[in-house]
Point group: C2
Chain length 345, copies 2
């Protein structure tokens, strides 16, 4: 390892940007050059000791930043921003609309390749670590199906230490964000609840075909602006393609104060599970699981590890867009390969 | 993907070789060319419909085999065989003496590189998938420690469906093998039992420093040959460096018949767990877990997935020895990259 630190910048300073800021501070081989924002930098400067820079000045920083962590709105900002930023910097992002990933990958790849950068897309929990575990599982247990399930009262039978209530579990940031963009919505929070019956079938090794809507239902807590048409907002939510249309939906209207106090945490979790047979009757189960006090801080930590990989891949002369599937695990770890093999293999 | 199948051979036909044979049959993009054995091929041919070939004739098959799965004795055969085989073929193996991996890697790398082959070493459960998860966890949750623990009555609180008894859980094939090589030992089985107290400390987020011996104790069931010196055998077992010396050991002598009937299954499992903080008080837990009806069949399935990766890496012109840390996840999956991204990311 060279002693030179990897120079990171963050674009966007919402929950995810703040999580990434903390993660950079936890990694000794990195330094945070600055935070880019669309807002007035002075407004953000009050909240952080990191240098805050207007997004309009981003091109002045091409020689000062190795990798930029794209922490803008997932559904709407990233598809616009990342192909633009990939012209100037190596990037990592957590774009999370599963169905649009292939076209997004192509758009980002084109710019990153043309301009000699590496862009690692759709990094985080899911898509991200969960996707990678689906891939590992289905590669090893051929013909099995890997199921991803969000938090299922996990603590009660798994870690045994925390007694969470049902409400407030499984916040989806991308989906909450999508609701907030509907006209007349002041704030929102979306919780994802797994279907117990579907889970039970997976555990029994039935390997059922399950649609998205059979695995989870979704609950939305919406703070409406004064005078907004609540009926119309509800319709817009439940018919939003990809995001909500496939699901059994419940929409609750609550007061802003209530959202801030009773629903303010951002815990999340879940697991990827599969049951496969290597010969008739011989069942093999694999499971990957996350139990998170803070989803944005965790996603920030994952983005930062992949920022290290992007830096190393570019240094090797690679260019173009990558996913978690394409990145060898060793590229994420701060240690040199020989050291990591000695300590961890 | 080309329609040409990947041509696999297996060297060794014990539990692991048989597991690998089943795994190849489960993968439509592979075919099994043959099984190499040191024994009399006729003896093995009775047990399988695969072609059985004397190990002395291996060099005649250089043009017929893409990757050879090395399924000989882990502790003694592999360090001798794999550097030799790497001169002729790409290889995958499950060498499992953690402390000797660095020197083994160098020895295999030298021959593979010189002869234009790829050798992926120490693939399986642990070292292998567990190691990789330790690496992912420590890369993401910087400063945390990832603990690997073998089966901890998992079913009772995790899958809720099976009621295993304590005995017979957590068989270690490599360690059983090591005991069998002691003079006077007819057969043996070694079970690994996790220390509950140590686990509890990890779950609480204490991140303690735990030696191997603080995490597990080991129980050996030994069938002695008639007239063998049981006291001497016991001493040889408990003082075996790396294998048993660091552990709290219990050695039981049992009858051959008893070993075959009461202790014949090879289930295994365990998990890798870590608890890290991304900011003060914000705890994030990651866990990867296996619950296996058959350890050798599962290890065989992992070896086969990495055989696919070895085939692809060699085709790309790569040479030398690799570990699970070096292999991008996408190389394991039978699907083309675009297809896997569409389906699994």
């Amino acid at each position: 390892m060279s002693s030179k630190k990897i120079r990171i910048a963050i674009c966007g300073y919402g929950n995810l940007g703040k999580g990434a800021e903390k993660a950079v501070a936890n990694n000794k081989d990195m330094e945070l050059v600055g935070i880019f924002t669309r807002r007035n930098p002075a407004e953000i400067a009050e909240q952080t000791s990191t240098k805050v820079i207007s997004i309009d000045d981003v091109s002045e920083y091409v020689d000062d930043v190795d990798v930029i962590i794209m922490a803008g709105g997932l559904a709407t900002d990233l598809p616009q921003q990342v192909p633009e930023f990939a012209k100037l910097f190596s990037t990592v992002d957590s774009f999370d609309t599963h169905k649009k990933i292939p076209e997004y990958l192509v758009a980002v790849d084109k710019q990153a390749r043309k301009n000699g950068n590496i862009s690692i897309i759709s990094v985080g929990r899911d898509p991200g670590l969960f996707s990678m575990n689906r891939l590992y599982m289905e590669s090893i247990l051929f013909g099995t199906k890997a199921y991803s399930v969000n938090r299922l009262y996990m603590e009660s039978f798994l870690f045994g230490t925390k007694a969470h209530s049902f409400w407030g579990e499984g916040v989806s940031q991308g989906h909450s964000d999508a609701i907030r963009r509907i006209s007349g919505v002041k704030d929102a929070r979306q919780d994802t609840i797994p279907m117990l019956e579907a889970m039970e079938r997976v555990r029994k090794g039935e390997n059922p075909d399950l649609s998205d809507g059979e695995k989870h239902r979704r609950i939305c807590y919406v703070v409406a602006e004064e005078g907004a048409d609540k009926g119309r907002i509800r319709e817009e939510i439940i018919h939003m393609p990809n995001y909500f249309e496939p699901y059994d939906m419940t929409v609750y209207y609550i007061e802003e104060e209530e959202l801030k106090t009773d629903y303010s945490g951002l815990p999340h979790g879940g697991f990827v599970l599969c049951t496969g047979e290597t010969s008739p009757g011989v069942k093999q189960r694999m499971k990957f699981e996350l139990d998170l006090d803070s989803n944005p801080e965790f996603t920030g930590a994952v983005l930062v590890a992949y920022a290290r990989a992007a830096y190393r891949m570019k240094k090797e002369g690679q260019t173009g867009a990558r996913t978690v599937f394409d990145v060898a695990p060793i590229l994420l770890h701060p240690d040199a390969r020989e050291e990591a093999i000695r300590k961890l293999l």
